[in-house]
């Protein structure tokens, strides 16, 4: 390989003032036309590294040491004016959320022209503009250029972001989770565009993501970050097949697979935050391979093979252990076909003037899990909200045990409200930040059961134990808990009502993959224990095989396919389901493709 375009050496970013490191000892290189995937869970510092490649940090942080060399030039020693011309020119950046990265008040043409003008490519403007749009497969007619960002779809907005990033023929491009907010179909197209542009223009790309399946599909090499350090770096195939670091291994195993039914395996515990990282290897407290030496010093970088480096004392043991076989998932609970719990018949719903659900028919039986799958805007959340009494604007009938339900929770009686519980998508917005966990769990207990103070407290503690949190969290506030713990609290709030039906709306989409596995596991176990009927709304097809009995695939407000999970996933009948399955990036397909 020729000389690398980008060289990062012992980069350190720390919290201003306190000197606590956010990331440290970051070293890697990226060659011409190469894509390096930087993966890690939230808080691992992957975005901090991405921004540092542009000589930038978030507010309150500063680059404290190391070097970032682009074609031999250290960008950390540049003056502000030089840095400014470098950004967007030599090194460019594609942010996570295209909707907030584009100025809503300016037309697309103005924004694209700004990028060209800022880097002295003002000549042949029209020609360059149409070239930029061609590259990202967008129309280059005047009508399109006159639009405002809000008139574009999410995928189109992100393509504009890509067009801007590639406009000045950068040498290095940093992509910070550019497809996180996009549907799988759109994501597949955007990823293809990224791949083509990088290889066509010989750009060194750093692709920051938490989604290993996406990285597996795109990257040549992968670096895994944990708690501010790169713990393993190597070719993509090696990382996903023969990783020598326990964390990387567990991370790969935590990803749900599309084929076959496997238990999801999460990683217990949470990653330490900056300032509270343990002595020795940061992963040691959660590591099943940890030995005495792991608690003394952080392991040095060791070469396993050409281009494969790892930081683990126990790498030989990890390699020898080989891949853990995935245990099969425990049997699904057998639904009780005799009586239907929730029956949805001919439901049409609208948001104001716009109809979003068309003639929906669906049934949930006791001990059954029905998955509701679809892309954003397919109406799956609206249907879940109609059932839970949060969306009142619908016609048709929703019945609980044969009794028709009123629209809106307030119009229903106490017993109905108790039996039907809803868990929201994001635990960051579903828990009142000004209430303690005890007050949050106490709310359903107070509303649905007439208990005295002591009994109510005991019930709250018992519920928390059910979701594997202890009484120790009772007096805490949500901001003191991690994302996974918050979602456990949200689930506990629903369980405290002792429901018979649980509606879960994308409950893991805001969580890291290692936490997701634990939450899914918990929900499945609770469903078996409490004999719940479960309506599981998700966009992640790979999850449903583990947990669901039946699946309803939704598109544009209609159920396009409805049947047993295995039947639908293995032999989809409808064109839409087939396309959805094909576009979903999965570890198996990526690994198979790389191994071939």
């Amino acid at each position: 390989m020729s000389a690398p375009v980008l060289v990062v050496e012992s980069l350190r970013v720390e919290v201003e003032g306190t000197g606590v490191d956010i990331v440290d000892e970051i070293s890697f290189t990226i060659g011409v036309g190469e894509v390096l995937g930087l993966v890690g869970e939230s808080g691992s510092g992957k975005s901090t590294v991405g921004l540092a490649l542009l000589g930038h940090t978030r507010r309150g942080a500063r680059i404290a040491g190391g070097a970032v060399r682009v074609e031999g030039r250290d960008i950390l020693s540049l003056r502000p004016a030089e840095l400014r011309s470098l950004r967007g020119g030599t090194v460019s950046y594609v942010p996570q959320d295209p909707a907030s990265a584009l100025n809503p008040a300016l037309r697309i043409r103005t924004q694209l022209e700004e990028t060209l003008a800022a880097h002295g490519h003002g000549a042949n403007k029209e020609e360059r503009l149409s070239q930029m749009l061609d590259e990202v497969l967008l129309p280059d007619d005047d009508l399109f250029l006159r639009r405002y960002p809000h008139q574009l779809s999410g995928g189109q907005q992100q393509r504009i972001g890509l067009a801007m990033a590639f406009a000045c023929r950068p040498r290095v491009i940093v992509l910070d989770e550019p497809t996180t907010g996009l549907d799988v179909t759109t994501q597949a197209h955007v990823l293809a565009t990224v791949r083509e542009l990088c290889s066509a223009h010989g750009v060194a790309a750093l692709y920051v993501s938490h989604d290993l399946a996406v990285v597996a599909a795109l990257a040549n090499r992968v670096a895994v970050m944990y708690a501010g350090r790169i713990v393993e770096i190597g070719p993509e195939r090696v990382l996903f097949h023969e990783s020598a670091h326990p964390y990387a291994r567990r991370l790969v195993e935590a990803i749900p697979e599309m084929s076959g039914r496997h238990a999801l395996m999460g990683i217990a515990g949470t990653a330490p935050r900056p300032g509270s990282r343990p002595e020795g290897c940061f992963f040691a407290p959660r590591c099943s391979f940890a030995a005495e030496e792991c608690t003394h010093a952080f392991p040095p970088v060791e070469r396993v093979a050409d281009g494969h480096e790892v930081r683990c004392f126990r790498r030989a043991e990890v390699l020898a252990a080989g891949a853990r076989g995935r245990p099969p998932a425990p049997d699904r609970a057998q639904p009780d076909h005799a009586n239907v719990l929730v029956d949805v018949r001919g439901v049409n719903a609208s948001h104001g003037e716009r109809q979003v659900l068309f003639d929906i028919n669906l049934a949930v039986e006791p001990r059954e899990c029905v998955a509701l799958v679809g892309e954003s805007g397919s109406g799956k959340t609206t249907l879940a909200r109609c059932i839970a009494g949060l969306h009142r604007d619908f016609t048709g009938e929703i019945a609980l045990r044969g009794r028709p339900l009123a629209a809106g929770a307030r119009a229903r009686d106490r017993e109905t409200r108790r039996e039907l519980q809803y868990v929201f998508q994001s635990p960051y917005s579903s828990l009142n930040p000004r209430k303690t966990i005890g007050q949050i769990i106490g709310q359903p207990v107070r509303l649905f059961f007439d208990l005295d103070h002591g009994a109510a407290h005991d019930r709250a503690v018992a519920t928390l134990e059910r979701v594997r949190l202890g009484a120790s969290v009772l007096n805490r506030y949500p901001h003191e808990l991690s994302g996974g713990e918050r979602q456990r609290v949200a689930i506990a709030r629903a369980l405290a009502a002792e429901p018979t039906v649980l509606v879960c709306d994308e409950v893991t989409s805001a969580l890291d993959v290692s936490v997701q596995a634990a939450i899914i596991d918990l929900i499945a176990e609770l469903q078996r224990e409490m004999q719940l009927g479960l309506l599981f709304v998700t966009h992640n097809l790979a999850l449903i095989r583990t947990i669901a009995n039946k699946v309803a695939v939704m598109s544009s407000g209609k159920i396009v396919e409805y049947g047993d999970v295995d039947a639908v996933l293995d032999a989809p009948q409808e064109a839409y389901t087939k396309a959805l399955l094909a576009d979903t990036p999965s570890m198996e397909s990526a690994v198979a493709a790389a191994g071939a």
């Binding site: 839970a388 709310q443 506030y477 713990e485």
Partner: protein
Amino acid sequence: MTAAAPAVASVPGSRRRRPLVILLRRSWRLGRTKLGVALVLLLAGVTLIGPLFAPHQPSAFAGAPYAHPSSTTLLGTDNLGRDVLSRFLWGGRSILGLSLAATVLGLVLGVSIGLVAAYSRSLLDDVLMRVMDVILAFPSIVLALVAVATVGPKLWLLVLVVGLTTVPRVARVTRGAALEIVNRDYVQAAEAMGESRLRILRGEILPNVTSPLLVEASLRLTYAIGLIAGLSFLGFGLQPPAADWGLMINENRQGLTVQPWGVVMPVIAIALLTIGTSLISDGISRAAAGIDRGGDSE
């Protein structure tokens, strides 16, 4: 993963603290907040403990009118020959008490109206806010003058009128902050469980708008002090011979060139008090917005 209960990852070193306490702590770290609190404490100290140290009764005669400072009258005498220092020490109580009472009244009414308006999002919202607009349309001093001219200079009326003129502004701020909260998932969760509307307003929404309300409270107090001082200057507050800063300025303004202390002291006091409250308000709002936070990782 079934048996192993994940240990509750405690944030090491974190004390269990209410979000509101964190905000107050954060604002306390700003120099402006400390200065503001110091000023308010100083003035509050003067008005509360001051009378104990007053050398004369506030309405007792201590010398000739407009006498210069002497050993018995440290700041000289006023237009009727009463001790300026004693009257100054006695005269803050009314302003501080009345403006506090008016602010509390305005806050209670304004917060209630704002919360109800934001949560109802219906015709009631429009009706309430248009009524607020009507009150807002009258300059507050004019409204106060009309009321006092009709009923007469009563202290409760002063509190009522000044309190009422702060209601629309508080209601607007509350409604604005609450509109963002009413659609949050935790409010919907409470609704789905059938929590009563009053409890949702009090338990789910109100605690989440306290940061802007704290800012607004100290800002409204600043305005109330100014308004009450102005009204007593015009003679609509405490009636002579009572000691009151606003009244003192009015009584002694003719002797300003001869014996300035009777005017200067209350002016300085009122100025420092309002500067103090607005510095506190500014400090809280900066802390809430995260400005000046620097490298603090809390």
